[in-house]
Assembly symmetry: C2
Homo-oligomer: 159 residues x 2
């Protein structure tokens, strides 16, 4: 009456490790009082200063109203600013403030620590092999580099 279970394959391990990596990253950036979604937004604006909110929402894979709420939170903390477009006054061009740039430097440190911790089981050679294989899988699956749609804002840490 029992159907044999397949051993945990690559897809299952990816889902399991991905959830774990995302949760741990969330804990780490929570120490900076940021959510993963906020760091993704800041990161995107850092690489593309002047981005408007509509394009931001599209790139982040969230709805327009979600983008507004995210930007509101970051602007109220002076990490981000909206600048009215001079040509088209409907547009809000987004830019990091100096404080926002400093925050991203901290996020960068946290992300590198996180990466080292997640691959602590591997030596340098193995780590390179893993990254190379993951990149090929990500490419073949059509995933864009840099931003990942699919995760919505993870649960905020209770403190």
């Amino acid at each position: 009456m029992t159907v044999p279970l397949p051993p945990a394959g690559a897809a299952f391990l990816l889902a399991q490790l991905g959830a774990h990596a995302a949760a741990r990253y969330g804990e780490r950036v929570a120490a900076l009082d940021l959510t993963p979604a906020q760091t993704g937004l800041l990161r995107l604006v850092m690489t593309e200063p002047g981005l408007n909110q509509r394009d931001l929402a599209t790139r982040l894979g969230v709805g327009a109203s979600t983008a507004v709420a995210l930007v509101d939170g970051l602007e109220s903390r002076d990490l981000l600013e909206r600048r009215r477009g001079p040509h088209d006054r409907r547009l809000h061009a987004l830019h990091l403030t100096d404080a926002g740039t400093r925050a991203m430097a901290e996020v960068r440190t946290v992300a590198m620590d996180h990466d080292a911790d997640m691959t602590a089981a591997l030596d340098d050679d193995e780590r390179r092999t893993l990254v190379a294989l993951l990149r090929r899988v990500a490419d073949q699956q059509g995933l864009p580099p840099g931003v990942h749609p699919g995760y919505r804002a993870l649960r905020r840490q209770a403190r």
Copy 2:
């Protein structure tokens, strides 16, 4: 004024691919009218028939009331049944019905297709290497085999 971004490392790729794998799995089991959480529950009860709801909730990493709702949904579709414990009448021992067992056979097929699809970029050797590396990372990170806490029920497919 710009801080250089690190290239996407292993942790980021794991999170990105994990979210993707989970989303695609969700689409596939939605075709069977199941959610990922439901398949996880059925799978657990299949491997440990007679499990009670409290232990189920603990193993699944969800609250007791969430377990009740999940079991309710599966019981109303005759995939699962509650049996009052003869020794302790507070306990509800969970068992798959025949229909539940058949459903899990379908889930197994879907999961194997999903696994093949997710690793379509790799040949057999590379797939084995990837799985071996992921297993070592998962072990070192303290992740239990079989069930992954961290994902809650993914969004139900609109139909």
